[in-house]
Amino acid sequence: MIATIALRVVLVGFGPVGARLVEGLLPDVRSGAVRLTVVGAESVEAYNRVLVAEYAVGRADRDGMVVTDAAAAEAAGVRLALGVTVTAIDRARQTVTLSDGTVEAYDRVVLATGARANVPTLYGVDRPTPSRSAPARAAELLDTGTTPLPAGITVLRDLADAERVQEAVRKRRRIVVLGAGVLGLELALASAAEGADVCVVHHGEIPMARNLDRGGGLVLARALARAGVSVVAHSRAEGVGFRLTAEGTPTFDAVLCADGKSIAGDLLVLSCGVSARTELAHLAGLPVSTGILVDRRLRSWGDDAISAIGDCAHVVERPDAVGSGAFAVPPGAPSGLIGPGWRQADWLARSISAEAVSAAEPEPLADERAGVVMLKAEDVDVVAVGSAFPDPWDAEPIDVRNGRPARQVSQWADPEHGSYVKLVTRGGVLEGLVCIGMPRTAAELTLLFERGSELPADRSVLLRHDGPDATPASASAASAPEATVCWCNGVTVGHVHDSVRDGAETVACVSAATRAGTGCGGCKGRIAELLDLFASTDGTQEVVV
């Protein structure tokens, strides 16, 4: 049945998660069940932000990052308002106001406003302060407020940021990356691979400290060095020094550290995490923590007509006390990963679609498992999942264990050859893992984690995927009696040996006796080798394995 009155949906934000929602709603837009308006601050089509570091070093082009077909969406009846922002949500009247002054009525609002890059407190850099009470009226000021970053300093979040980096890479400038999280390292590794001189500055002992345990971090640090990225650890950046360009404008010159070090460069990339864009929700009086608080039906704790998905959404079960306004701000934060955002978009599209045609709402979104963090880099393989901080000998307090099977930790470390694996399991099922320098093992462990499958009791089985014995084709195995010589006829070394013992002396004789070599003929060389081998062992001994 088609609803006679369309459900009016306003989507705020047209990034990869918003685009996924649009895709999911297209059939209902086409049928007229949903009237969808999309408000996007960037005036370009939605693109895959995951590839922004690759774009920054010139490896991806913009066309290859686009995830939507705006023309097709518009043809289906979606109304796209790009290059504008939503400045207010009037929940009482159920309208949103756009920065160009338009007012849109809604039945449902979906906030997919994403996150902005953090700018740390640095002497010499004015921190942008987007107002929590008055969202930017111009799209380009959404994250910077009225104070853009000084020349030579950038974050890495959108295409314009990436283009700044691209220029530095192209001109072989020296790039300083502040922060050793996943994005910072991906950028550093990609820039180094493209020939840039790049240095990562971070204040801890190990890179990717949020995701890796100490052993994993130390192995990764060595891998980074081998890949040509210099890493300056234990360095708290306090300020930025500037030099004057030929035109007389001050531009980035060096990072000044608390211990007095000064790390010079031409471009400073701030890679210090992201924060959800929550001000629109906040302004509308909706509960906000590190993200917009939504329940497992992705509806705002404060208003069932408003949903949030992606990097701006913090999914937590709604407490009973929300109505009174008296509730504790829950711990945790949006995951910052794209996978959960897409799953949220898919679920919400189904939910809105069901509402539009008066069907039953889908089951609430299942709890997300810990996200799989993979470093996107060609020569450095890092996979980290969940919490891999416990050590094999750490005892787990009984109250933490709380009736569950005991936690078990297995570990393999070979720093000299750059490989490291830690497996944290409970009841044989992975809760966390770190895997460095062992790509096939990492791929396998990722699958086992994603599926919640039980690991083999002998964990060392899992470590062999990258070993030479994973392809059992050594010279000795090839002459084992059961090794196949002729695939076409299923003839083994043993059969050939029997025929030699029975008097076959040439390849043709062996073929006549066993059919080996009478299919595709590709094994005739092998038969000749075996004849030599058997001749050298007198043809009478058993084949030596």
Binding site: G64, P456, T518
Partner: protein, 744 residues
């Protein structure tokens, strides 16, 4: 003892050797048959002598014919074990030598041909009168000659007036056919001669174990292997995967059912690394922008986390395919026999198109057809929605043309029928099929969710099976009609390249055995059918050629005489042309001459017809305690094994189903190599032995599908189907594995 029954006519000792092709797979290896007693034909230069004793087989029984390999581009004189032993079936003691009718007590008794055909015709006529024409169904096979396949389709539409015809190719080539047609406008398995593969630097094989299924084919992989460029995607370390060892290439051991994602990931890399053949894409294709958008979300690390294939392998493969030194992409049933098989094949085609491989010198895309006449069998009217020449039965112009050839009113032709799984589900149901004729197919073993099919067959008013032996399906029939084997008949086959080949008679069939052409002619006469039903394969072929004229698979310029000249004949071969060894060199078959790049994405859910529930793919596969079942073939056996299980040498080498398990899994489940185990799910239980090998993933179990009774792998496979092609999900099923309890 001799295996020759007295009824087999003694071969003419003076008869000349006969050049023909192998009875089994789509490679259709060339062979020469020499009547025993005559001098064997001189073997091809690069093949050995014609008769060999395998060490384990002991002395061979006397056979009516000797088989020798014959030099030909496909097999270059070689044959595999199945081909060498193929003559054993001609004189098999199991051979049915007269029509057999089921008796009251469930056993079979011989009846005369007249009695059998009268009873069939009476029942079919009564059923049609009482329940309508669609109450009679026909199930064909990809092993039938072009002439039989054509005649069967015509018989169904004209003599029976039914739309209910489909065939076992639905279980084989339907996804590749649908994808090929969608992309190129025409479906010919290999749009190039197979020997072109020999010059390739890189060959990517997805879900195909040619080293066991069509072994002489691997000779064509030698060039790529020598160049280090054979890439095999398979969840198992199959015999073909092992051909990549020692620097010959690389095995990508993707998890079952993840092929589509793997291909999207490869295309992502190709686009990201600017390996696209932009001129080709601009000039010869449409749809690239949509596909570019659709793969932008499949970056390598994400693909790794779904497929288990590390990113470096993905990158290396993508770069290698794009290096311009000659690359081919070939798909097989492993990626096609899924509920998303059409989309997966489309993703492979998209990759080939974006790299500019298709129709380009030294490069290409192809699908490896499985059954002997899997190609021709899908062109001439066995398919529910097709008329001869790969025409659509719903196209008024096609109906008019074919009805003209058949001398009937186009309005009398039925419309499109329903694909195989749906057809089988309708058996015995209200409004469904009540009488079924089965030709060249062993459904009880080969159909998915086999026990459901078996139960459905038991509800029929009449089941007629044409076969050489009491196959598991024939054993359920009301009437079994004995038919000729390959060496006893004339006709044509179309091999995996779309090359039309002559099958020739080397000896006379036993007295009581008839050709399907004769059976269909006799039935048509008894049913007072319009049109004519020749019993002569030459005449039938000429009619087929006329019926196909102007269609996609145009055979109008081909005749038995032309084929007998030995000239290579590839379709389309319109009258007056020289045929088409290579397709797509200048244009694709769509009206605008361009190929379609069609965006495809993994679908999260599948529809299971059994219970009507929509469930997420992977949900049941990856539940704790369940394993993924994959199925496939062994070197020694062909399809349901109805033939090869009756060849002593082949049965001795592979006497029973063995389920492959990883050692880590075997230890966990307490299963030793060779132990009796049960592999089960809600659809059925397979009882067989375990074979413990590191060549399989720990979460996966492999079963060959050749074996009968409670060793049938298809007891466990799902009859969920691909929405586009109707292909069932043969290649992944959730199962549990346990040791069998010790029986008293």
């Amino acid at each position: 003892m001799t295996l020759l029954p007295a009824t087999t006519p003694a071969p003419d000792a003076t008869a000349a050797p006969t050049d023909t092709h192998c009875p089994y797979c789509a490679l259709q290896c060339a062979m020469t048959l020499t009547p025993s007693g005559a001098e064997p034909a001189t073997a091809a230069a690069d093949a050995g002598p014609s008769r060999r004793a395998a060490p384990e087989a002991g002395p061979r029984p006397a056979l009516p014919l000797t088989v020798s390999g014959r030099t030909f581009p496909t097999n270059r004189g070689g044959l595999c074990k199945k081909g060498w032993t193929s003559a054993a079936l001609l004189g098999s003691p199991d051979r049915i030598l007269e029509p057999m009718a089921r008796t009251e007590d469930g056993t079979f008794a011989p009846v005369s041909w007249d009695a059998a055909l009268d009873r069939i015709a009476d029942t079919l006529r009564r059923t049609r009168q009482r329940h309508g024409a669609d109450a009679v169904g026909v199930f064909g096979g990809g092993g039938l000659t072009n002439e039989k396949a054509y005649q069967l389709g015509k018989f169904a539409r004209v003599a029976l007036g039914t739309s209910r015809i489909d065939y076992n190719g639905r279980f084989c080539m339907s996804s590749a056919a649908a994808a090929g047609t969608r992309a190129f406008g025409v479906d010919r398995g290999l749009p190039f001669p197979v020997e072109h593969l020999g010059r390739a630097s890189t060959i990517l094989m997805l879900g195909s174990n040619v080293a066991e299924t069509m072994p002489p084919f691997i000779g064509h992989l030698e060039g790529a292997r020598a160049a280090g460029g054979l890439f095999v995607v398979d969840p198992r370390r199959s015999a073909t995967a092992r051909l990549t060892d020692d620097g010959a290439g690389m095995h990508l051991q993707a998890t079952p059912g993840s092929d589509l994602v793997l291909l999207l990931g490869l295309l992502h890399i190709v686009i990201a690394e600017k390996l696209v053949d932009a001129d080709y894409v601009a000039e010869r294709t449409v749809g690239f922008d949509d596909v570019r958008r659709s793969v932008s979300t499949w970056w390598p690390e994400r693909v790794q986390s779904v497929t288990g294939v590390p990113t470096w392998q993905l990158r290396m493969l993508a770069r290698r395919l794009a290096d311009g030194r000659g690359s081919y992409i070939l798909t097989g049933r492993g990626v096609e026999q899924h509920v998303d098989g059409t989309d997966t094949t489309t993703a492979a085609i998209n990759l080939a198109l974006v790299l500019g491989l298709v129709g380009t010198d030294g490069s290409g895309y192809g699908t490896l057809t499985g059954q002997g006449n899997g190609q021709g069998g899908r062109e001439h009217g066995q398919k529910a929605d097709q008329l001869p020449g790969y025409r659509k039965i719903t196209d008024p112009a096609a109906r008019a043309h074919v009805a003209g050839v058949w001398g009937i009113d186009p309005a009398d032709l039925p419309g499109a029928g329903i694909p195989a799984v749906e057809l089988l589900h309708s058996l015995g149901q209200p409004g469904g099929v009540r009488c079924l004729l089965v030709h060249g197919s062993n459904l009880v073993v080969s159909a998915p969710n086999a026990d459901r099919v078996r139960a459905a067959l038991a509800t029929l008013d009449l089941l007629v099976v044409c076969d050489f032996f009491f196959s598991e399906t024939a054993a359920m029939a009301d009437l079994v009609l004995p038919v000729t084997q390959w060496a006893e008949e004339e006709g044509t086959m179309t091999n995996l390249e779309g090359r039309v080949l002559r099958r020739r008679r080397a000896l006379d069939a036993p007295d009581g055995v008839r050709s399907e052409l004769w059976i269909l002619s006799e039935l048509a006469r008894r049913l007072e059918s319009p049109s004519t039903f020749s019993t002569d394969s030459r005449e039938v072929f000429d009619e087929l050629a006329r019926a196909s004229e102007g269609g996609l698979a145009d055979y109008s310029g081909i005749s038995h005489d032309l084929l007998d000249t030995g000239r290579p004949v590839y379709w389309p071969f319109p009258s007056g042309s020289a045929g088409t060894p290579r397709l797509f060199h200048d244009r694709f078959a769509h009206a605008d001459g361009r190929a379609r790049i069609v965006p495809v994405t993994p679908r999260p859910s599948v529809h299971t017809p059994t219970d009507g529930h929509v469930r997420h793919r992977g949900d049941e596969l990856h539940r704790t305690g369940t394993m993924t079942l994959i199925t496939g073939r062994l070197l020694e056996h062909y399809q349901s094994g109805a033939q090869t299980r009756r060849v002593d040498e082949l049965l001795a080498a592979q006497p029973e189903a063995r389920a492959q398990l990883h050692p880590a899994t075997a230890v966990r489940l307490g299963i030793a190599d060779g132990a009796a185990i049960e592999v089960s799910n809600a659809r059925g239980i397979v009882r067989c032995r375990a074979s413990v090998t590191t060549g399989i993933r720990p979460d996966t179990v492999f079963l060959p599908f050749h074996f009968p009774a409670d060793q049938r792998a298809n007891l466990l496979t799902s009859d969920a189907t691909d929405p586009i092609s109707g292909m069932p999900e043969f290649k992944t099923a959730a199962v549990t594995v346990r040791p069998m309890e010790a029986s008293a």
